[in-house]
């Protein structure tokens, strides 16, 4: 299947592109898409446990199955984040 992949902020800089297109196997999940990226851009690998992901403009789990034509986005940590590390500005 064909999916559109969107990258933001530091991930976008590492990959050198805000939008990529990939052909993935029919049983692909968001995680499959991520690993297709890290194979090509090893600089993304350190973000493996830090990313959030969204499918079709909704937050999603990495285990979410993808469908033909889906847009999957990978998001680096945000400045506030999940209550563990917390900026105050």
């Amino acid at each position: 299947m064909h999916v559109r992949i969107r990258l933001f902020a530091r991930l976008r800089e590492i990959a050198g592109d805000a939008e990529l297109h990939r052909e993935l196997p029919d049983d692909a999940t968001a995680s499959t898409a991520w690993h297709a990226l890290t194979a090509q851009f090893p600089g993304l690998a350190p973000y493996e446990r830090l990313i959030s992901c969204a499918v079709n403009e909704e937050y999603a789990k990495l285990s979410t199955p993808l469908q033909e034509g889906d847009e999957v986005a990978f998001l680096p940590p945000v400045s506030g984040g999940g209550g563990r590390r917390f900026t105050t500005d």
Partner: protein
């Protein structure tokens, strides 16, 4: 919930234009609301010992709108009479300019303050918006923790900060 959700969505904005706190107050105020609490986040000239020059904000805009919408729904569940508006600026923001502005109108002031504080904590936690800080001698992406809309610890943390 659906009509409340639609009303809340109209109040949210991700924009390259300068934010206007006065207009934000007017957008939520109404004859039944005796209190409007607002928060404006401003780009500071220093951060972590660095002299900041400006900040570029980047957003995944459609998801940011939905995150603001979720935050407003959460606030409505906790404080049913509160009307919330969340505006976030993207692009280059100069020192002293507002990057985020939130207004919470309510019949009484206690819930307005609480909802406003809750909203900014949640925005920082889960809005897909990134800060690219440009300082004297370099630049850095400010990365805290992953945005996770299902993180109940984070939500509890925001409620604690809201002093409820």
């Amino acid at each position: 919930m659906s009509s409340a959700r639609e009303a809340a969505q109209e109040h949210h904005r991700v924009t390259t234009a300068a934010l206007d706190p006065g207009a934000l107050v007017n957008s939520v105020a109404g004859p039944a609301c005796g209190a409007v609490a607002t928060f404006v986040g401003v780009v500071r000239d220093r951060n972590a010992g660095r002299r900041v020059l400006w900040i570029d904000y980047e957003a995944y805009a459609p998801l940011a709108h939905k995150a603001f919408d979720q935050i407003a729904r959460e606030a409505l569940e906790r404080w049913p009479a509160v009307r919330l508006a969340i505006h976030h600026r993207i692009g280059r923001v100069a020192i002293g300019e507002a990057s985020v502005a939130i207004a919470a109108a309510s019949p009484h002031r206690a819930e307005g303050f609480a909802a406003c504080r809750y909203a900014i904590e949640r925005v920082k936690q889960m809005a897909p918006i990134w800060k690219h800080e440009h300082f004297e001698g370099g630049e850095v992406w400010i990365e805290g923790a992953p945005a996770d809309p299902w993180d109940e610890d984070a939500r509890r943390h925001a409620l604690e900060r809201a002093c409820t």
